[in-house]
Symmetry: D2
Subunit: 337 residues, 4 copies
Amino acid sequence: MKKVSVVGGTGYTGSEIIELIIRHPEVELTHVSSRIEEPIKFGDLFPRFFARTDVLCEALDVDKFSKDSDLVFLALPHTVSMEVAPKFIEKGKKVIDLSADYRLDSVSFKKWYAKDHTDKANLEKAVYGLPEVYREKIKKALLVANPGCYPTGVILALAPIVKTVNEIGATIIVDSKSGTTGAGKKATLALSYSEVDENFKSYKENEHQHIPEMERILSDAANSDVKVNFTPHLLPLKRGILSTIYIVADKLPDVDIIYSKYAKMYKDEPFVRLRPLGSMPQISEVVNTNFCDIGIKSARGVLIIVSCIDNLVKGAAGQAVQNMNLMLGLSEGSGLI
Amino acid sequence: MKKVSVVGGTGYTGSEIIELIIRHPEVELTHVSSRIEEPIKFGDLFPRFFARTDVLCEALDVDKFSKDSDLVFLALPHTVSMEVAPKFIEKGKKVIDLSADYRLDSVSFKKWYAKDHTDKANLEKAVYGLPEVYREKIKKALLVANPGCYPTGVILALAPIVKTVNEIGATIIVDSKSGTTGAGKKATLALSYSEVDENFKSYKENEHQHIPEMERILSDAANSDVKVNFTPHLLPLKRGILSTIYIVADKLPDVDIIYSKYAKMYKDEPFVRLRPLGSMPQISEVVNTNFCDIGIKSARGVLIIVSCIDNLVKGAAGQAVQNMNLMLGLSEGSGLI
Amino acid sequence: MKKVSVVGGTGYTGSEIIELIIRHPEVELTHVSSRIEEPIKFGDLFPRFFARTDVLCEALDVDKFSKDSDLVFLALPHTVSMEVAPKFIEKGKKVIDLSADYRLDSVSFKKWYAKDHTDKANLEKAVYGLPEVYREKIKKALLVANPGCYPTGVILALAPIVKTVNEIGATIIVDSKSGTTGAGKKATLALSYSEVDENFKSYKENEHQHIPEMERILSDAANSDVKVNFTPHLLPLKRGILSTIYIVADKLPDVDIIYSKYAKMYKDEPFVRLRPLGSMPQISEVVNTNFCDIGIKSARGVLIIVSCIDNLVKGAAGQAVQNMNLMLGLSEGSGLI
Amino acid sequence: MKKVSVVGGTGYTGSEIIELIIRHPEVELTHVSSRIEEPIKFGDLFPRFFARTDVLCEALDVDKFSKDSDLVFLALPHTVSMEVAPKFIEKGKKVIDLSADYRLDSVSFKKWYAKDHTDKANLEKAVYGLPEVYREKIKKALLVANPGCYPTGVILALAPIVKTVNEIGATIIVDSKSGTTGAGKKATLALSYSEVDENFKSYKENEHQHIPEMERILSDAANSDVKVNFTPHLLPLKRGILSTIYIVADKLPDVDIIYSKYAKMYKDEPFVRLRPLGSMPQISEVVNTNFCDIGIKSARGVLIIVSCIDNLVKGAAGQAVQNMNLMLGLSEGSGLI
């Protein structure tokens, strides 16, 4: 059995990692941390986990956690992770960071997160944890930057055609809709039930901090600068992101040619499911799974791509476990199907 | 046109009063207060009200508000109202208080709200604002204590038979379920969408602070001490309370006799709708209305009564407007149907 | 008091008209029809209306309804209205039809609704009931085709700039999200709670039957052919449509110039609320109102417009009442604020 | 690997069994049936299962299914199961029936399901599949009647004290609230999103067909006739049942004595979690798990018990898999944690 710890286990992402590790047949959970005075059984803190794990929730102790872990998950707020990650890396521990701290270069990071990066050395070595694009690098990585939830669904929906998009000079419009857990476990009025229920709204229209992450990875895939116009919305539901993507061009390639690019790229992928041409996925089909489902359609001159993920699974904890499997030499889908 | 002001207009209850007064054909809204530095148009603060009212939201000024008001609504937190109400009463203004501050006697108040009552003089004169029980007193009152949301639905469901209940030594079990706006406009994790959605729970089982209010009014109606066993639950919806009430006794009177007591008491009530015997109301039938719908059924030796209200209308703002109509000599249903 | 009848009162749209007419200070509801054997009080059929109206729900009788009505609302399924409308028009009664039967020319109608139009004479004379565009024609119309829910929000969001859009050769991408009542009152598995809850999906991507309606009216406004790329989605909520609209062009005009076009067109409109530049509306701000709220923003070279309506009010029944007010010479906002 | 088949795989219960068997480490799914003309891959029928199983959905063929199965799940409508079960039993196959067909004696069955029982021979031998009460019998059973969803949560909440309840002459009031999947996969208006959303209602108040099932099992546990007063309600959520149970008596035993009875009965149970005295469970804590969580509290002379389950897991498919594990000699919790 491999051993892992979770730093920051009380948020939605941290708890979802714990949920997945408890069910994982080849990995054992040794430590969970939180900003807490006295250690307490995780199952006493959250009754959902009662009788399912004996793990304690305790204050972070890098030495102790390192001693009992082959790999550490950091489920910490942005700008906090970069203070913690180097401590584990120094001890030779593999790290999967679920914050945004290692996803951008230091210049972009400062621009979008308004803070100087304090761990530039590791930032340069960090691998972007999207297995469908960087699988081989992930296998050998010491530090993996787990992708953001919106970028996961959007990048997977665009990667196969982003080169073509740039060749034909097309414009990319991404209209994403996310459930509330994507915003984290927060006591804010804007996220209260009475405000979100029976409501729907856009926010940060074409100026969300996930844009540079999408553009960086897609530009890498296209070998040229890709521009993503991205507008997120808040759905009255807990889990799931659906992105509707429009490719606008004077003239599009034949949709069968486009479809074949997706089919080729995702043929053997364990967690990307390409729907038959013209059939679109919906959120309920991927909730509580690690799948990213993708549908493609051409209608009245516009190419429409719809992708769905569970933001807490493929968009966070599930993808982190998928990365962990790769980094620890386990079967990629272990504990995830 | 009569003139009214709302002290505390930014919570759900205060805003609902404003919504109702804007539509009211015989009453004008002159002032709205909130803890705010600079006055701002209420419609600029809340886009829902944009272009519907010119009223300002400003800091409370008792002199100014009194000058322009025939009646003042207090939609303030518990224990704050009792500091404000006497100031308006002193100026001869009629007051409808929507907090719990004037609903109990001072002993009960201290026990359940953990604070000495600071306005005992007015407390003694306050009239409980349930028109179906205290209509004539309300018409002449200077200070009305608007009922709590749970008590409104429960008292109306029990008032016609509470005397009988005591006579036969029956036990009252009230199982209530409320939407989230009943908990107020709050930034707490427990009320966040991610926690409430797809969830349901009980709370303060048989020890909720609305119990003494129910028991006080029902004991008054029965002319003997009534005991109410009351357990509330939180529903994943915004508006509405449904209370399922069980009357447990060795031997119940014939259900037709019971039904006739309801029919008699509510025959001419504008806002209580008694369903045919055996037919039960549901929340969607009363949402956004000032009605309390009541259904009655006897099955396998138990009497079951179901009542529904919209907690923000009949359970708060609508009932306050109904009381206002009575206090200002307007038609009781004006602006409410 | 003016008198009106509702043909087809048991669906969501018909019931919403009845709700609005009951509250209307200048109009009386005389008849309501449905496919029903024996007349029954509408309030006995739907407890929500109990004690609020004495109107009967009965089988349609054109003579009887005509005798007691200045105007008739048809809330019937598509292709049924065109069988009924001519009978009332023949008797000189004003008609507001809420189906799609009189919104398109006969060629488009046949293409999108798969049936020959059977009332081409009236089709030619029908006025499209969007007061913000056709107010003067509506005032004099005998037959008004009430707009579809999606078209209402989309046309109002685009009308001020559609001429500019065509001049600069821009592409219009409309991504709309609607609540479930927009699909009507239906017993289908796809609309069941267990399927819709915690789910979200696109449908009829860029091939929805409301496209020709949008394009027809916008082309009329632009004086040239307008192409609308439109993809609807189903939201897990009851009421409301939010449309996110992207204007894609090589070079956009300055956003202040664009904003001024909206400000000019909607300056005196009672039911269109233009938000300050950069501020976007959300569904909860318009639910249960007749407003269409519009927000505009330019970001990273894309013009983004968001519009919100309540699909049953401004998207159906409310707009019908607004049209009724114009047709009967009443104040346009009567009964709607 | 053991082999199982599912007869009736397209409803919510059947699909949940398939979901659980796919994840089960020791059991293989060989056949799934439905009323279908041509065989189709189950994952093509329901995209949620795409790429997760190769099983076909085909018409029922008792010979074929029997040949490849150690055990067969029947997820069929009531009164259909009793036509199918004997065919598999005849072939020596173990059967778990999830309908109501084998839960009652033939007299009760006829009374509550309005049909003569057609398989009385097997009915007499069927074991009620509640492992916490009938574990040893289940291990040896050929035919298990999987409990109803409401009875599971109610019986587990009452079994430890039902003897005491009868001894002290107490009355049992059960107020249950269930999510919509409990009503099955149905195209009915009453279960449509527009009707259920933002709504809550009671139904079949103290006359639901699950009452005789509860009373039968609890009477067996108490060794005397137990009366359960049971009123269900429909919650606007998909999964989960919370039952609030009131024990009304002139004088209750000390709550610590009562609590110890629960502690004793459930000490080693893998799927019943007793909360600390006074702490109550909520639905989100058990959703997607096979747990029944139980909380107990005494307040103002009333004993209050709250139990929660996921109606599709512990209330149906999960309990069926738990029974299967027992019947096939596997570890009771295999595939369920």
